[in-house]
């Protein structure tokens, strides 16, 4: 009965088009254009050390953006990633410096605090039916305040925890390949991104992530405990933000309690530039990574060119719009 496509035998190209693979290939385009442009514009841009600097600048925002991607795919939004990052860093500080406990416990504290706060946001959204924007805006403020309260409005230094700064600044890869001293922070970003991409595409949690964003009510009516899964997704996102908190704390060798405001918009921008839809139901981690890289390359390149800072802002705004526009045009063509 189902004789669709008997006649239409697509060639390799249209097969690629149908599978959407070309889209992912093309998504690099904006990034590549930027890279080429900056390389031509400044001899200082394309150096191993600068590329590493760009990657390192991506690491924290990248991790936050990966977390934000999860929530955005469910059709939600997470405005608390920035201050939650700070909060988890402070928790690590409390455990390691104030309580003097060993390093693994600090790691657990940060990730655990992240997961717990994600759990709270998730519960507000799922159980109390508060729109994600408001639930996470509230959390953003609460966590901002709590970070200051807990730290006593003072940075907490990790001087008593030897090796803490290696979490982000050390280089395992550099130990193996001395000419490629990629910092661990970057490695961790890619590990986190890889794991999250796996979860999204291969596990039940990932499946529900997309399903919730696609049509939550129909998922609920399929007998799925949507509230529970939603909370689980927010918790996972929170845990990932906790890793981001460790990265930034390690990089600054301190927990800076006033940091983090504004990072949420940057993370969300990376997600959207990467092609994830804010209305939920679709998105990729690879796209988010590219989005985060685009932002980092852009800012780095403009600085290298010594563009006046106010113009840097203008150009960044314009390029964000253009990058997304290019993506739109591409999709329309391929649709």
């Amino acid at each position: 009965m189902t004789s669709v496509n008997t006649e239409a035998r697509p060639g390799l190209f249209s097969k690629l088009v149908a599978s959407g693979a070309h889209q992912k290939l093309l998504a690099f385009a904006s990034l590549v254009i930027l890279l080429v442009g900056f390389t031509l514009a400044s001899p200082n841009f394309m150096q191993v050390s600068n590329i590493i600097a760009i990657l390192q600048a991506t690491s924290v925002n990248g991790v936050l953006a990966v977390a934000a991607t999860l929530v955005i795919i469910t059709g939600g939004i997470d405005l608390s990633v920035g201050t939650l990052m700070t909060f988890t860093a402070v928790m690590a500080g409390v455990v390691l410096t104030n309580l003097g406990l060993p390093l693994p416990l600090g790691v657990i504290a940060a990730i655990g605090a992240g997961a717990f706060c994600g759990f709270c946001s998730g519960s507000f959204v799922a159980k109390m039916k508060i729109p994600p924007f408001i639930a996470t805006l509230g959390m953003m403020l609460i966590l901002k305040g709590l970070s200051l309260v807990i730290s006593g409005t003072r940075p907490i230094y990790f001087n008593d925890t030897p090796g803490f700064d290696l979490i982000s600044n050390g280089s395992l890869i550099g130990m193996l390949i001395p000419s490629l001293p990629i910092p661990n922070g970057v490695l961790i970003l890619f590990l986190v991104a890889g794991a999250t991409a796996y979860i999204l595409s291969r596990t039940v949690l990932g499946r529900y992530c997309f399903a919730l964003g696609s049509n939550e009510e129909s998922v609920r009516l399929s007998g799925v405990n949507t509230d529970w899964w939603k909370i689980a997704i927010y918790s996972l996102a929170g845990a990932i933000v906790g890793i981001g908190g460790l990265l930034i704390a390690s990089r600054l060798n301190s927990a800076q309690p006033a940091l983090g405001l504004g990072y949420e918009l940057e993370a969300i921008a990376a997600v959207v530039i990467g092609g994830t839809s804010l209305s939920g139901g679709r998105g990729t981690i690879l796209g988010t990574l590219i989005g985060a890289l685009i932002m980092a390359v852009l800012i780095n390149g403009l600085r290298i060119l010594s563009v006046a800072q106010e113009w840097q802002t203008v150009v960044t705004g314009a390029i964000i719009i253009l990058a997304v526009y290019a993506d739109m045009v591409r999709r329309k063509k391929s649709a």
């Binding site: 009965m1 189902t2 004789s3 669709v4 496509n5 006649e7 239409a8 697509p10 249209s14 088009v17 149908a18 291969r202 596990t203 039940v204 949690l205 990932g206 499946r207 529900y208 997309f210 399903a211 696609s214 049509n215 009510e217 129909s218 998922v219 609920r220 009516l221 399929s222 007998g223 799925v224 405990n225 139901g281 679709r282 649709a335």
Partner: protein, 508 residues
């Protein structure tokens, strides 16, 4: 009689689908021209091309004798082509009247709205349609049927001389269908041409002058409605003849109650509803639009809260607070509104089919087994004849009827002991309908208890062991198969009850 529309050699391709192949169609003034075909045959696509929603890849269109190429729905409207789309597309937050006149609202100076005129004009249309609806009612408060009526009202308000109706009656009951047909006949007598798409074969004889049949994107032929036997039309649609033999219902176990509902109540929508379904039984639910059948189903399923009432499964009381509890207790529910409640339309066929049952396809760590999911999806695609290029196709790109089949597949996979089907054949073609009936009967024969809510009385009569009838939130009676006729059902469906005691008696 003059020719209003001529479409020749129409081609349309979507990624992976050749939807229209050299299709043709024509429409004369003063006729109702039915367009028939299986799910996915290309009917809606053809009409979307006519009404400017899609652009064609090839072929010619003439409207009123002039070649046209509409670049948007606005252009088609200007040329006098109006359309009622198969999928409801209303603005839920706006009122009925506001929806009808969107883009053409009566205005005063400086862009100010004349709400009074808006509402009275809408009320006029409603009264022409014999429709009892306050024009100020927001759409999201209406049942699907009422929403469908608003869509019809909107199309009528354009006073187009070419009017396309894509399955307008899928959500309507007999009385409303009769009203609609009256309107159509009036329009026809005024010289308009109506293109009418439906899967309800009995409507053909009542309303159509000619019938064009499509199959697999091609036009098979055009025949006069009056003197072509239905069977012949069906044969043209499906490419073979269907046996019309009466369906054999197996006996059910009279002493084995699968689901017992007692005193179910929720606000004014459900008032003290009690009934039993047995293992192996198909219990039909009939009633007029808004009688409360959907509400009962949703309350049983835990989709809406109940005020009171108890549920027993196999004699054991169960406490169902959410759909999850219901599924865990072995109850499945297929919603009447597949787009909003049945499917994640942005996801692919495979993902939707396995949605109720992901556990079965995942390891203890929650890792999914894609190969197993694919095999299962493929199996259902074949069993139900779901027309899709692959199991990775997004569901929103399937034709309406095929979407419905995906919903059915997903609940078949879940294999519940009690299955509630709410309007299971809405928008499904004759061939597939017959298969679904067979499937329901098979499921019952395998020992499942089945509730079928349907607004098509012939359907209820054909496949139900017993028929429960509702009116205004009450269960007004349950008829055995031998007592159930169109007349006896309609009598109960219009029986406004006063005494709760009568209700109880009737429910026995």
């Amino acid at each position: 009689m003059k020719e209003l529309v001529r479409m020749e050699g129409i081609e349309k391709r979507f990624p992976g689908v050749h939807a229209l192949k050299n299709a043709r169609f024509d429409l004369q003034s003063g006729e109702v021209h039915a367009l028939m075909g299986e799910n996915g045959a290309g009917k809606s696509t053809m009409m979307k091309i006519l009404s400017g929603v899609y652009t064609r890849d090839g072929g010619t269109i003439e409207v009123d004798g002039r070649p046209v190429g509409f670049d948007g729905p606005g252009a088609a409207q200007d040329a006098g082509v109006g359309i009622i789309h198969q999928e409801l597309s209303l603005m839920n937050d706006l009122t009925a009247a506001q929806n009808i006149f969107i883009g053409r609202e009566p205005r005063r100076r400086f862009g100010r709205l004349d709400e009074a005129a808006l509402n009275s004009q809408a009320a006029d249309i409603f009264s022409q349609m014999n429709l009892d609806l306050d024009p100020r009612t927001p759409v999201h408060q209406m049942t699907i049927a009422k929403q469908q009526m608003v869509e019809i009202a909107k199309a009528l308000s354009y006073r187009s001389h070419i009017l396309v109706m894509d399955e307008p009656t899928a959500a309507l009951n007999d009385a409303e269908i009769a009203d609609l047909f009256t309107i159509i006949r009036t329009l026809r007598s005024e010289g308009a041409g109506i293109i009418y798409i439906s899967h309800k074969m009995d409507e053909l004889k009542q309303i159509a002058d000619r019938v064009t049949i499509m199959r697999d994107g091609e036009t098979v032929g055009t025949v006069p409605a009056a003197d072509t036997p239905i069977n012949e039309i069906i044969q043209m649609m499906v490419g073979r003849s269907l046996s019309d033999s009466a369906l054999e219902l197996a006996d059910f176990e009279h002493d084995n109650v699968a689901l017992e509902v007692n005193g179910l109540t929720r606000g004014h929508e459900i008032r003290d509803v009690s009934f039993k379904v047995h293992k192996g039984e198909i219990l039909g639910f009939a009633g007029l639009m808004g009688a409360g059948r959907t509400e009962v189903a949703r309350a049983i399923f835990g989709a809406d809260p109940r005020d009171s009432g108890t549920l027993m499964i196999h004699g054991k009381q169960v406490d169902i607070k959410s759909p999850r509890d219901a599924v865990a207790a072995g109850i499945g529910y297929l919603s009447e509104d597949r787009k909003h409640f049945g499917l994640a339309t942005g996801m692919d066929v495979r993902a939707n089919i396995v949605m109720t049952n992901l556990k079965q396809f995942s390891s203890s760590l929650g890792v999914l087994d894609e190969a197993a999911m694919q095999a299962t999806a493929q199996d259902y695609i074949e069993r139900l004849g779901i027309r899709t290029p692959s199991d990775r196709q997004e569901v929103r790109l399937l034709s309406g009827g095929n979407q419905q089949k995906v919903v059915i597949a997903k609940w078949l996979l879940r294999d519940c002991e009690v299955l509630i089907f709410d309007e299971p054949t809405r928008g499904i073609d004759v061939g597939a309908k017959a298969e679904i009936y067979k499937l329901l009967i098979e499921l019952a024969a395998q020992g499942r208890a089945i509730i079928v809510i349907s607004s098509e009385l012939p359907e209820v009569l054909r496949i139900s062991h017993r028929v429960a009838v509702m009116c205004e939130g009450r269960l007004t009676g349950i008829l055995d198969r031998q007592d159930a006729t169109q007349e006896s059902i309609m009598k109960l469906a219009t029986l406004t009850m006063r005494e709760p005691s009568t209700n109880k008696r009737a429910a026995q």
